[in-house]
Protein backbone atom coordinates (compact mmCIF):
# COMPACT_ATOMS: atom_id res chain seq x y z
CA UNK A 1 0.00 0.00 0.00
CA UNK A 2 2.67 2.56 0.90
CA UNK A 3 4.56 1.64 -2.24
CA UNK A 4 1.46 2.16 -4.37
CA UNK A 5 0.69 5.54 -2.88
CA UNK A 6 4.33 6.52 -3.32
CA UNK A 7 4.18 5.63 -6.97
CA UNK A 8 0.94 7.52 -7.37
CA UNK A 9 2.57 10.60 -5.89
CA UNK A 10 5.54 10.24 -8.21
CA UNK A 11 3.28 10.28 -11.24
CA UNK A 12 1.03 13.10 -10.15
CA UNK A 13 3.75 15.60 -9.21
CA UNK A 14 5.01 16.26 -12.75
CA UNK A 15 1.43 16.48 -13.98
CA UNK A 16 0.68 19.14 -11.41
CA UNK A 17 3.78 21.06 -12.38
CA UNK A 18 2.92 20.83 -16.07
CA UNK A 19 -0.67 21.94 -15.45
CA UNK A 20 0.57 24.79 -13.29
CA UNK A 21 3.06 25.95 -15.91
CA UNK A 22 0.50 25.66 -18.71
CA UNK A 23 -1.90 27.81 -16.72
CA UNK A 24 0.66 30.36 -15.52
CA UNK A 25 2.82 30.81 -18.62
CA UNK A 26 0.33 32.97 -20.58
CA UNK A 27 -0.54 34.98 -17.45
CA UNK A 28 2.94 36.05 -16.40
CA UNK A 29 3.35 38.98 -18.79
CA UNK A 30 -0.20 40.30 -18.17
CA UNK A 31 0.56 39.89 -14.47
CA UNK A 32 3.78 41.84 -14.89
CA UNK A 33 1.97 44.57 -16.84
CA UNK A 34 -0.65 44.82 -14.10
CA UNK A 35 2.02 45.01 -11.41
CA UNK A 36 3.91 47.64 -13.38
CA UNK A 37 0.70 49.64 -13.91
CA UNK A 38 0.30 49.75 -10.14
CA UNK A 39 3.87 49.94 -8.86
CA UNK A 40 5.41 51.98 -11.73
CA UNK A 41 8.76 50.21 -11.30
CA UNK A 42 9.88 47.44 -13.64
CA UNK A 43 12.06 45.65 -11.14
CA UNK A 44 9.48 45.75 -8.36
CA UNK A 45 6.86 44.51 -10.84
CA UNK A 46 9.05 41.53 -11.71
CA UNK A 47 9.59 40.85 -8.00
CA UNK A 48 5.83 41.03 -7.38
CA UNK A 49 5.07 38.52 -10.14
CA UNK A 50 7.87 36.24 -8.94
CA UNK A 51 6.38 36.20 -5.45
CA UNK A 52 2.83 35.86 -6.79
CA UNK A 53 3.85 32.89 -8.95
CA UNK A 54 5.33 31.19 -5.91
CA UNK A 55 2.17 31.80 -3.89
CA UNK A 56 0.12 30.51 -6.79
CA UNK A 57 2.17 27.32 -6.79
CA UNK A 58 1.69 26.88 -3.05
CA UNK A 59 -2.08 27.20 -3.39
CA UNK A 60 -2.33 25.35 -6.71
CA UNK A 61 -4.12 22.33 -5.20
CA UNK A 62 -6.71 24.52 -3.54
CA UNK A 63 -7.33 26.43 -6.75
CA UNK A 64 -7.80 23.21 -8.73
CA UNK A 65 -10.24 21.91 -6.14
CA UNK A 66 -12.30 25.08 -6.25
CA UNK A 67 -12.09 25.71 -9.99
CA UNK A 68 -12.76 29.08 -11.58
CA UNK A 69 -10.84 31.39 -13.89
CA UNK A 70 -7.07 30.98 -13.61
CA UNK A 71 -6.62 34.49 -15.00
CA UNK A 72 -8.73 36.18 -12.34
CA UNK A 73 -7.20 34.01 -9.62
CA UNK A 74 -3.61 34.79 -10.60
CA UNK A 75 -4.17 38.51 -11.23
CA UNK A 76 -5.79 38.71 -7.80
CA UNK A 77 -2.66 37.20 -6.23
CA UNK A 78 -0.49 39.67 -8.15
CA UNK A 79 -2.57 42.61 -6.96
CA UNK A 80 -2.48 41.41 -3.35
CA UNK A 81 1.29 41.07 -3.62
CA UNK A 82 1.57 44.63 -4.97
CA UNK A 83 -0.60 45.92 -2.15
CA UNK A 84 1.47 44.20 0.50
CA UNK A 85 4.66 45.61 -1.06
CA UNK A 86 3.15 49.08 -0.90
CA UNK A 87 2.27 48.66 2.77
CA UNK A 88 5.92 48.50 3.85
CA UNK A 89 7.15 51.73 5.43
CA UNK A 90 10.03 51.88 2.97
CA UNK A 91 7.74 51.91 -0.04
CA UNK A 92 6.67 55.52 0.24
CA UNK A 93 10.20 56.75 0.61
CA UNK A 94 11.22 55.59 -2.83
CA UNK A 95 8.37 57.28 -4.64
CA UNK A 96 9.97 60.69 -4.99
CA UNK A 97 12.56 59.51 -7.51
CA UNK A 98 13.22 61.68 -10.51
CA UNK A 99 11.19 60.37 -13.42
CA UNK A 100 13.98 61.17 -15.82
CA UNK A 101 15.82 58.16 -14.34
CA UNK A 102 13.03 55.97 -15.65
CA UNK A 103 13.10 57.44 -19.10
CA UNK A 104 16.70 58.06 -20.06
CA UNK A 105 16.86 60.36 -23.05
CA UNK A 106 17.70 58.74 -26.35
CA UNK A 107 19.28 60.70 -29.18
CA UNK A 108 16.59 62.46 -31.20
CA UNK A 109 13.90 61.21 -28.87
CA UNK A 110 13.66 64.12 -26.46
CA UNK A 111 10.11 65.10 -27.43
CA UNK A 112 8.92 61.54 -26.97
CA UNK A 113 10.76 61.31 -23.65
CA UNK A 114 9.08 64.47 -22.39
CA UNK A 115 5.69 63.16 -23.57
CA UNK A 116 6.24 59.88 -21.73
CA UNK A 117 7.30 61.70 -18.58
CA UNK A 118 4.07 63.74 -18.77
CA UNK A 119 1.97 60.60 -19.04
CA UNK A 120 3.93 58.90 -16.29
CA UNK A 121 3.36 61.84 -13.97
CA UNK A 122 -0.35 61.77 -14.76
CA UNK A 123 -0.59 58.04 -13.99
CA UNK A 124 1.40 58.36 -10.79
CA UNK A 125 -1.02 60.97 -9.53
CA UNK A 126 -3.94 58.55 -9.93
CA UNK A 127 -5.05 56.62 -6.89
CA UNK A 128 -3.89 53.02 -6.86
CA UNK A 129 -7.49 51.77 -7.06
CA UNK A 130 -7.97 53.89 -10.19
CA UNK A 131 -4.83 52.55 -11.86
CA UNK A 132 -5.96 49.01 -11.09
CA UNK A 133 -9.45 49.33 -12.49
CA UNK A 134 -8.41 51.24 -15.61
CA UNK A 135 -5.72 48.76 -16.45
CA UNK A 136 -7.87 45.67 -15.89
CA UNK A 137 -10.88 47.02 -17.76
CA UNK A 138 -9.35 48.92 -20.67
CA UNK A 139 -5.91 47.45 -21.22
CA UNK A 140 -6.39 43.79 -20.28
CA UNK A 141 -9.94 44.10 -21.58
CA UNK A 142 -11.45 42.01 -18.79
CA UNK A 143 -15.26 41.89 -18.50
CA UNK A 144 -16.66 43.88 -15.60
CA UNK A 145 -17.56 40.70 -13.71
CA UNK A 146 -13.97 39.48 -13.89
CA UNK A 147 -12.61 42.89 -12.89
CA UNK A 148 -14.93 42.75 -9.87
CA UNK A 149 -13.64 39.28 -9.04
CA UNK A 150 -9.99 40.35 -9.25
CA UNK A 151 -10.55 43.47 -7.16
CA UNK A 152 -12.85 41.76 -4.69
CA UNK A 153 -15.64 44.31 -5.14
CA UNK A 154 -19.14 44.35 -6.64
CA UNK A 155 -19.81 44.98 -10.33
CA UNK A 156 -21.56 48.25 -9.49
CA UNK A 157 -18.43 49.42 -7.68
CA UNK A 158 -16.34 48.59 -10.76
CA UNK A 159 -18.62 50.73 -12.95
CA UNK A 160 -18.49 53.75 -10.71
CA UNK A 161 -14.77 53.35 -10.10
CA UNK A 162 -14.07 53.21 -13.86
CA UNK A 163 -16.12 56.36 -14.33
CA UNK A 164 -14.28 58.29 -11.62
CA UNK A 165 -10.89 56.98 -12.70
CA UNK A 166 -11.50 58.10 -16.28
CA UNK A 167 -12.45 61.59 -15.16
CA UNK A 168 -9.37 61.77 -13.02
CA UNK A 169 -7.04 60.55 -15.78
CA UNK A 170 -8.45 63.04 -18.29
CA UNK A 171 -7.93 65.86 -15.82
CA UNK A 172 -4.37 64.77 -14.95
CA UNK A 173 -3.37 64.45 -18.60
CA UNK A 174 -4.87 67.86 -19.40
CA UNK A 175 -2.83 69.29 -16.55
CA UNK A 176 0.38 67.78 -17.91
CA UNK A 177 -0.30 68.61 -21.56
CA UNK A 178 -2.18 71.91 -21.39
CA UNK A 179 -1.70 72.82 -25.02
CA UNK A 180 -2.58 69.54 -26.65
Amino acid sequence: MPVDSGQATMTTVPEQAVAYEDALQPLLVPGYDLAFAVLRDAQLAEDAVQEAAFKAWKSWNRFQDNGGSARAWFLKIVLNQCRSMMRTPWWRLGRGRDLVEDFPATPGGEARTVHRIDLERAIRRLKIEHREVLFLFFVLDLPQEEVANVLGVRVGTVKSRVHRALERLRSEIAQEEPYR
Partner: protein, 410 residues
Protein backbone atom coordinates in the same frame (compact mmCIF):
# COMPACT_ATOMS: atom_id res chain seq x y z
CA UNK B 1 -17.51 54.95 -21.97
CA UNK B 2 -16.46 55.67 -25.51
CA UNK B 3 -13.84 54.39 -27.90
CA UNK B 4 -11.89 57.58 -27.13
CA UNK B 5 -11.77 56.67 -23.46
CA UNK B 6 -10.38 53.29 -24.29
CA UNK B 7 -7.76 54.81 -26.61
CA UNK B 8 -6.78 57.38 -24.00
CA UNK B 9 -6.22 54.79 -21.27
CA UNK B 10 -4.42 52.35 -23.53
CA UNK B 11 -2.15 55.09 -24.84
CA UNK B 12 -1.31 56.27 -21.33
CA UNK B 13 -0.34 52.81 -20.16
CA UNK B 14 1.33 51.59 -23.35
CA UNK B 15 3.45 54.72 -23.88
CA UNK B 16 4.80 54.44 -20.35
CA UNK B 17 5.16 50.66 -20.32
CA UNK B 18 8.55 49.19 -19.59
CA UNK B 19 8.89 45.61 -20.79
CA UNK B 20 10.17 42.90 -18.47
CA UNK B 21 13.71 41.72 -18.99
CA UNK B 22 14.27 39.03 -21.64
CA UNK B 23 13.55 35.52 -20.41
CA UNK B 24 11.29 36.88 -17.66
CA UNK B 25 8.60 34.16 -17.82
CA UNK B 26 11.06 31.27 -17.87
CA UNK B 27 13.01 32.82 -15.02
CA UNK B 28 9.88 33.15 -12.87
CA UNK B 29 8.81 29.55 -13.40
CA UNK B 30 12.32 28.20 -12.87
CA UNK B 31 12.69 30.05 -9.60
CA UNK B 32 9.28 28.87 -8.39
CA UNK B 33 10.43 25.28 -8.78
CA UNK B 34 13.80 26.05 -7.21
CA UNK B 35 12.13 27.56 -4.16
CA UNK B 36 9.18 25.24 -3.77
CA UNK B 37 8.87 21.53 -3.19
CA UNK B 38 7.59 19.39 -6.05
CA UNK B 39 4.25 18.88 -4.39
CA UNK B 40 2.47 22.17 -3.78
CA UNK B 41 0.04 20.75 -1.20
CA UNK B 42 2.51 18.53 0.59
CA UNK B 43 4.78 21.28 1.85
CA UNK B 44 2.14 22.88 3.99
CA UNK B 45 1.03 19.62 5.57
CA UNK B 46 4.61 18.62 6.23
CA UNK B 47 5.26 22.01 7.83
CA UNK B 48 2.17 21.70 9.97
CA UNK B 49 3.20 18.21 10.99
CA UNK B 50 6.58 19.48 12.17
CA UNK B 51 5.12 22.49 13.94
CA UNK B 52 2.47 20.81 16.06
CA UNK B 53 4.80 18.88 18.43
CA UNK B 54 6.96 21.99 18.83
CA UNK B 55 3.95 24.14 19.78
CA UNK B 56 2.74 21.47 22.21
CA UNK B 57 6.19 21.21 23.79
CA UNK B 58 6.47 25.01 24.09
CA UNK B 59 3.06 25.24 25.78
CA UNK B 60 4.02 22.45 28.18
CA UNK B 61 7.28 24.15 29.13
CA UNK B 62 5.55 27.49 29.73
CA UNK B 63 2.93 25.78 31.93
CA UNK B 64 5.68 24.08 33.96
CA UNK B 65 7.55 27.37 34.38
CA UNK B 66 4.39 29.16 35.53
CA UNK B 67 3.73 26.38 38.00
CA UNK B 68 7.28 26.71 39.31
CA UNK B 69 6.23 30.22 40.19
CA UNK B 70 7.20 33.85 39.68
CA UNK B 71 6.99 35.97 36.58
CA UNK B 72 10.63 36.89 37.10
CA UNK B 73 11.72 33.33 36.55
CA UNK B 74 9.40 33.03 33.58
CA UNK B 75 10.80 36.21 32.15
CA UNK B 76 14.31 34.86 32.39
CA UNK B 77 13.38 31.54 30.89
CA UNK B 78 11.33 32.71 27.93
CA UNK B 79 14.15 33.82 25.65
CA UNK B 80 15.52 30.32 25.70
CA UNK B 81 12.22 29.00 24.38
CA UNK B 82 12.38 31.18 21.31
CA UNK B 83 16.10 30.96 20.82
CA UNK B 84 16.73 34.47 22.11
CA UNK B 85 15.46 37.82 20.94
CA UNK B 86 15.51 38.52 17.23
CA UNK B 87 18.87 39.97 16.27
CA UNK B 88 20.79 40.71 13.09
CA UNK B 89 21.90 37.72 11.02
CA UNK B 90 25.45 36.52 11.64
CA UNK B 91 26.77 38.34 8.57
CA UNK B 92 25.76 41.75 9.91
CA UNK B 93 28.49 44.02 11.26
CA UNK B 94 28.51 44.92 14.96
CA UNK B 95 25.60 47.27 15.70
CA UNK B 96 26.41 50.96 15.79
CA UNK B 97 25.12 54.21 14.37
CA UNK B 98 27.73 54.27 11.60
CA UNK B 99 29.51 51.39 9.95
CA UNK B 100 33.20 50.95 9.36
CA UNK B 101 35.49 53.70 8.12
CA UNK B 102 33.79 55.55 5.25
CA UNK B 103 36.40 54.63 2.67
CA UNK B 104 36.36 50.92 3.35
CA UNK B 105 33.00 49.72 2.04
CA UNK B 106 30.43 50.30 -0.67
CA UNK B 107 26.92 49.13 -1.50
CA UNK B 108 26.08 46.76 -4.33
CA UNK B 109 23.05 44.72 -5.43
CA UNK B 110 23.88 41.18 -4.39
CA UNK B 111 20.97 39.43 -6.11
CA UNK B 112 21.84 37.39 -9.17
CA UNK B 113 18.57 38.60 -10.64
CA UNK B 114 16.89 41.93 -10.05
CA UNK B 115 18.32 45.12 -8.67
CA UNK B 116 15.92 45.38 -5.73
CA UNK B 117 17.02 43.03 -2.99
CA UNK B 118 19.18 41.92 -1.39
CA UNK B 119 21.56 44.84 -1.14
CA UNK B 120 24.92 44.11 0.41
CA UNK B 121 28.05 46.00 1.21
CA UNK B 122 31.57 44.88 0.55
CA UNK B 123 35.09 46.09 1.10
CA UNK B 124 37.48 46.88 -1.74
CA UNK B 125 39.14 43.48 -1.37
CA UNK B 126 35.89 41.97 -2.62
CA UNK B 127 34.76 40.61 0.73
CA UNK B 128 31.05 40.90 1.46
CA UNK B 129 30.91 42.61 4.84
CA UNK B 130 27.17 42.41 5.39
CA UNK B 131 23.68 42.44 3.95
CA UNK B 132 20.97 44.96 4.70
CA UNK B 133 18.01 43.55 6.62
CA UNK B 134 15.20 42.81 4.14
CA UNK B 135 13.11 45.63 5.61
CA UNK B 136 15.80 48.19 4.74
CA UNK B 137 15.56 49.36 1.17
CA UNK B 138 18.34 51.84 0.47
CA UNK B 139 17.01 55.13 -0.91
CA UNK B 140 19.77 57.73 -0.90
CA UNK B 141 22.77 55.84 0.39
CA UNK B 142 26.10 57.34 1.35
CA UNK B 143 28.88 55.99 -0.85
CA UNK B 144 30.06 53.60 1.85
CA UNK B 145 26.51 52.43 2.51
CA UNK B 146 26.46 53.26 6.21
CA UNK B 147 23.96 56.15 6.13
CA UNK B 148 20.59 56.22 4.37
CA UNK B 149 18.38 59.21 3.72
CA UNK B 150 14.75 59.38 2.65
CA UNK B 151 11.66 61.53 2.85
CA UNK B 152 7.93 60.99 2.80
CA UNK B 153 6.94 64.58 2.13
CA UNK B 154 9.93 66.25 0.45
CA UNK B 155 10.29 68.62 3.42
CA UNK B 156 11.64 66.56 6.27
CA UNK B 157 14.40 64.07 5.67
CA UNK B 158 15.14 61.13 7.90
CA UNK B 159 18.62 59.65 8.30
CA UNK B 160 18.95 55.94 9.19
CA UNK B 161 21.80 53.58 9.84
CA UNK B 162 22.22 50.27 8.05
CA UNK B 163 19.82 48.53 10.40
CA UNK B 164 17.05 51.02 9.62
CA UNK B 165 17.48 52.73 12.99
CA UNK B 166 16.55 56.46 12.80
CA UNK B 167 19.48 58.72 13.66
CA UNK B 168 18.34 62.25 12.94
CA UNK B 169 16.08 64.50 10.87
CA UNK B 170 17.09 67.37 8.60
CA UNK B 171 15.02 69.86 6.65
CA UNK B 172 16.87 69.62 3.35
CA UNK B 173 18.87 67.03 1.50
CA UNK B 174 20.37 66.93 -1.99
CA UNK B 175 22.72 64.04 -2.49
CA UNK B 176 25.72 62.52 -0.79
CA UNK B 177 29.17 63.87 -1.46
CA UNK B 178 30.81 61.67 -4.11
CA UNK B 179 33.96 60.96 -2.15
CA UNK B 180 32.78 58.74 0.68
CA UNK B 181 32.59 61.65 3.12
CA UNK B 182 29.46 61.78 5.26
CA UNK B 183 28.34 65.10 3.85
CA UNK B 184 25.29 65.96 1.74
CA UNK B 185 25.08 68.89 -0.68
CA UNK B 186 21.98 70.54 -2.04
CA UNK B 187 21.69 73.27 -4.67
CA UNK B 188 18.49 75.34 -4.46
CA UNK B 189 17.75 77.80 -7.25
CA UNK B 190 15.84 80.94 -6.34
CA UNK B 191 14.57 83.81 -8.46
CA UNK B 192 17.64 85.97 -8.01
CA UNK B 193 20.16 83.78 -6.29
CA UNK B 194 21.12 80.20 -5.70
CA UNK B 195 22.01 78.61 -2.37
CA UNK B 196 24.15 75.62 -1.54
CA UNK B 197 23.33 73.79 1.67
CA UNK B 198 25.86 71.30 3.02
CA UNK B 199 25.12 69.03 5.96
CA UNK B 200 27.92 67.33 7.83
CA UNK B 201 26.85 63.91 9.14
CA UNK B 202 30.13 62.87 10.69
CA UNK B 203 28.18 62.80 13.93
CA UNK B 204 24.96 61.50 12.36
CA UNK B 205 22.85 62.05 15.47
CA UNK B 206 23.81 65.76 15.48
CA UNK B 207 24.21 66.89 11.88
CA UNK B 208 25.50 70.41 11.31
CA UNK B 209 23.97 72.44 8.48
CA UNK B 210 25.61 75.29 6.59
CA UNK B 211 24.07 77.39 3.81
CA UNK B 212 25.92 79.72 1.50
CA UNK B 213 24.83 81.80 -1.47
CA UNK B 214 26.34 81.08 -4.84
CA UNK B 215 28.52 84.00 -5.86
CA UNK B 216 28.71 84.37 -9.63
CA UNK B 217 30.52 87.72 -9.47
CA UNK B 218 29.66 89.84 -12.47
CA UNK B 219 28.39 86.87 -14.45
CA UNK B 220 24.64 86.15 -14.73
CA UNK B 221 23.13 84.11 -11.89
CA UNK B 222 22.25 80.43 -12.21
CA UNK B 223 18.98 80.11 -14.09
CA UNK B 224 15.78 79.68 -12.09
CA UNK B 225 14.15 77.43 -14.71
CA UNK B 226 16.94 74.90 -14.71
CA UNK B 227 16.40 71.27 -13.96
CA UNK B 228 19.97 70.97 -12.70
CA UNK B 229 21.88 67.94 -11.75
CA UNK B 230 24.89 68.39 -9.59
CA UNK B 231 27.63 66.47 -7.85
CA UNK B 232 29.78 67.58 -4.95
CA UNK B 233 32.97 66.57 -3.28
CA UNK B 234 33.48 67.76 0.27
CA UNK B 235 37.07 66.52 0.22
CA UNK B 236 37.89 68.52 -2.91
CA UNK B 237 35.74 71.50 -1.81
CA UNK B 238 33.69 71.84 -4.96
CA UNK B 239 30.31 71.27 -6.53
CA UNK B 240 29.64 70.94 -10.24
CA UNK B 241 26.18 72.00 -11.42
CA UNK B 242 24.97 71.18 -14.91
CA UNK B 243 22.04 73.22 -16.16
CA UNK B 244 19.37 71.48 -18.17
CA UNK B 245 16.66 73.61 -19.73
CA UNK B 246 13.29 72.23 -20.77
CA UNK B 247 12.00 73.85 -23.97
CA UNK B 248 8.31 74.70 -24.06
CA UNK B 249 6.59 75.09 -27.39
CA UNK B 250 2.98 75.78 -28.31
CA UNK B 251 2.21 72.10 -27.76
CA UNK B 252 3.72 72.01 -24.28
CA UNK B 253 7.13 70.73 -23.20
CA UNK B 254 8.98 69.57 -26.28
CA UNK B 255 12.63 68.96 -25.55
CA UNK B 256 15.45 69.57 -23.15
CA UNK B 257 19.06 70.60 -23.62
CA UNK B 258 22.13 71.13 -21.50
CA UNK B 259 22.90 74.80 -21.04
CA UNK B 260 26.00 75.30 -18.92
CA UNK B 261 28.36 73.83 -16.39
CA UNK B 262 29.35 75.73 -13.27
CA UNK B 263 32.14 74.69 -10.94
CA UNK B 264 31.48 76.12 -7.49
CA UNK B 265 33.69 76.19 -4.42
CA UNK B 266 31.68 74.61 -1.60
CA UNK B 267 33.26 76.55 1.23
CA UNK B 268 32.79 80.03 -0.30
CA UNK B 269 30.03 79.57 -2.89
CA UNK B 270 32.26 81.25 -5.46
CA UNK B 271 31.86 80.12 -9.07
CA UNK B 272 35.33 79.04 -10.14
CA UNK B 273 34.52 78.41 -13.78
CA UNK B 274 31.58 78.38 -16.15
CA UNK B 275 31.22 76.67 -19.48
CA UNK B 276 28.32 77.34 -21.84
CA UNK B 277 27.12 74.12 -23.43
CA UNK B 278 24.58 75.88 -25.61
CA UNK B 279 27.56 76.98 -27.71
CA UNK B 280 28.30 73.31 -28.35
CA UNK B 281 25.04 71.97 -29.79
CA UNK B 282 24.52 68.24 -29.88
CA UNK B 283 25.71 67.47 -26.36
CA UNK B 284 23.60 64.45 -25.44
CA UNK B 285 25.26 63.49 -22.20
CA UNK B 286 27.67 64.73 -19.58
CA UNK B 287 29.62 63.07 -16.78
CA UNK B 288 31.65 64.67 -14.02
CA UNK B 289 34.71 63.21 -12.31
CA UNK B 290 34.23 62.64 -8.56
CA UNK B 291 36.63 65.46 -7.68
CA UNK B 292 34.84 67.87 -10.01
CA UNK B 293 37.96 68.42 -12.12
CA UNK B 294 36.94 66.78 -15.39
CA UNK B 295 33.80 67.02 -17.48
CA UNK B 296 32.97 64.54 -20.23
CA UNK B 297 30.77 65.97 -23.00
CA UNK B 298 29.33 63.42 -25.39
CA UNK B 299 28.21 64.31 -28.90
CA UNK B 300 25.85 61.98 -30.77
CA UNK B 301 26.86 58.69 -29.07
CA UNK B 302 30.16 58.56 -30.95
CA UNK B 303 32.56 61.12 -29.54
CA UNK B 304 33.31 62.39 -26.05
CA UNK B 305 35.54 65.33 -25.19
CA UNK B 306 37.07 65.39 -21.73
CA UNK B 307 37.49 68.95 -20.49
CA UNK B 308 39.74 70.07 -17.68
CA UNK B 309 37.42 72.38 -15.77
CA UNK B 310 40.33 74.12 -14.02
CA UNK B 311 41.86 75.28 -17.29
CA UNK B 312 38.84 75.10 -19.60
CA UNK B 313 40.93 73.13 -22.11
CA UNK B 314 40.22 69.81 -23.77
CA UNK B 315 42.29 67.17 -21.99
CA UNK B 316 41.41 64.23 -24.25
CA UNK B 317 38.96 62.61 -26.67
CA UNK B 318 37.48 59.14 -26.70
CA UNK B 319 35.23 57.32 -29.14
CA UNK B 320 32.00 56.40 -27.37
CA UNK B 321 30.14 57.59 -24.29
CA UNK B 322 31.83 58.10 -20.91
CA UNK B 323 29.49 57.02 -18.12
CA UNK B 324 31.75 58.04 -15.24
CA UNK B 325 35.28 58.36 -13.91
CA UNK B 326 37.34 56.57 -11.29
CA UNK B 327 38.14 58.32 -8.01
CA UNK B 328 41.63 59.33 -9.14
CA UNK B 329 40.35 60.48 -12.57
CA UNK B 330 42.64 58.06 -14.42
CA UNK B 331 40.02 55.58 -15.67
CA UNK B 332 36.56 55.93 -17.16
CA UNK B 333 33.72 53.54 -17.95
CA UNK B 334 32.79 53.65 -21.61
CA UNK B 335 29.59 52.14 -23.01
CA UNK B 336 25.83 52.51 -23.11
CA UNK B 337 25.70 53.43 -19.40
CA UNK B 338 22.97 50.97 -18.43
CA UNK B 339 20.82 51.26 -21.55
CA UNK B 340 20.73 47.48 -21.71
CA UNK B 341 19.33 47.17 -25.21
CA UNK B 342 21.82 49.59 -26.76
CA UNK B 343 25.05 48.32 -25.29
CA UNK B 344 27.36 46.19 -27.40
CA UNK B 345 30.45 46.52 -25.27
CA UNK B 346 31.29 48.25 -22.02
CA UNK B 347 34.93 49.05 -21.28
CA UNK B 348 37.02 50.55 -18.55
CA UNK B 349 39.66 52.63 -20.27
CA UNK B 350 42.56 54.86 -19.38
CA UNK B 351 40.98 57.81 -21.16
CA UNK B 352 44.19 59.80 -21.56
CA UNK B 353 45.88 57.03 -23.59
CA UNK B 354 42.88 55.10 -24.90
CA UNK B 355 44.24 51.87 -23.36
CA UNK B 356 41.44 49.38 -22.68
CA UNK B 357 41.86 48.02 -19.18
CA UNK B 358 38.82 45.70 -19.12
CA UNK B 359 35.74 45.10 -21.22
CA UNK B 360 32.57 43.04 -21.21
CA UNK B 361 29.82 42.43 -23.82
CA UNK B 362 26.65 44.45 -23.28
CA UNK B 363 26.09 47.44 -21.05
CA UNK B 364 27.44 48.26 -17.60
CA UNK B 365 27.10 50.77 -14.79
CA UNK B 366 29.46 52.11 -12.15
CA UNK B 367 28.16 50.99 -8.75
CA UNK B 368 30.91 52.44 -6.60
CA UNK B 369 34.05 54.51 -6.91
CA UNK B 370 36.97 54.03 -4.56
CA UNK B 371 37.92 57.53 -3.42
CA UNK B 372 41.22 58.80 -4.85
CA UNK B 373 42.01 55.40 -6.36
CA UNK B 374 41.53 53.80 -9.78
CA UNK B 375 39.33 50.92 -8.52
CA UNK B 376 35.74 50.78 -9.75
CA UNK B 377 32.87 48.47 -8.81
CA UNK B 378 31.06 47.70 -12.06
CA UNK B 379 27.58 46.19 -12.46
CA UNK B 380 26.76 44.26 -15.62
CA UNK B 381 24.61 41.38 -16.83
CA UNK B 382 25.62 38.11 -18.43
CA UNK B 383 23.27 36.53 -20.94
CA UNK B 384 23.70 32.82 -21.78
CA UNK B 385 23.42 31.83 -25.46
CA UNK B 386 19.86 30.56 -24.87
CA UNK B 387 18.78 34.13 -24.01
CA UNK B 388 17.12 33.12 -20.75
CA UNK B 389 18.55 33.13 -17.26
CA UNK B 390 20.18 36.56 -17.29
CA UNK B 391 22.49 36.91 -14.35
CA UNK B 392 23.60 40.12 -12.64
CA UNK B 393 27.22 40.49 -11.65
CA UNK B 394 29.28 43.07 -9.83
CA UNK B 395 33.07 43.07 -10.14
CA UNK B 396 35.83 45.27 -8.81
CA UNK B 397 38.06 46.33 -11.70
CA UNK B 398 41.64 47.32 -10.89
CA UNK B 399 43.92 49.56 -12.95
CA UNK B 400 45.87 46.54 -14.24
CA UNK B 401 42.70 44.92 -15.60
CA UNK B 402 42.41 42.27 -12.91
CA UNK B 403 38.96 41.81 -11.39
CA UNK B 404 37.37 40.46 -8.24
CA UNK B 405 33.89 38.97 -8.43
CA UNK B 406 31.65 40.07 -5.60
CA UNK B 407 29.57 37.39 -3.90
CA UNK B 408 25.97 37.24 -4.98
CA UNK B 409 22.93 35.23 -4.03
CA UNK B 410 20.07 33.63 -5.94
Amino acid sequence: MSRDDSTLVRRAFSDTRRPPQPGFANRVLTRVHERGADDPGGRRQEHRGRLLPLVAAAIAIVVVLVLLGGTGRLHLALPRLSGGPAGPPPSMPPPGPVGPDPYQTFVYPAGATGKGTPNAYADWNGKQVGIYPPSVQPIYVSDDGSLLAGTTNGKTWQIWDRQGKPLSQVSSFGDWSKDGAHVSCNLVLGNRSATITTIDFRDPAHPSTRSIKVDTGNAPPLQRNWAPFSACSAVHDRMVAVGQEVQTGVRGPSSSRFTEVDVIQLSTGRVLSRRALSAAPGVIGVAISPDGKYLAETYGLTRTDVLDLDTGKVAGHVTGVICGFSGDDSLALLGACGEWNLGKTASVIAWRTGHIVWSVPGSALIKAIKPDAPDLAIFFQTVPPSGSGISNRVVIVHADGTTIDLPHTG
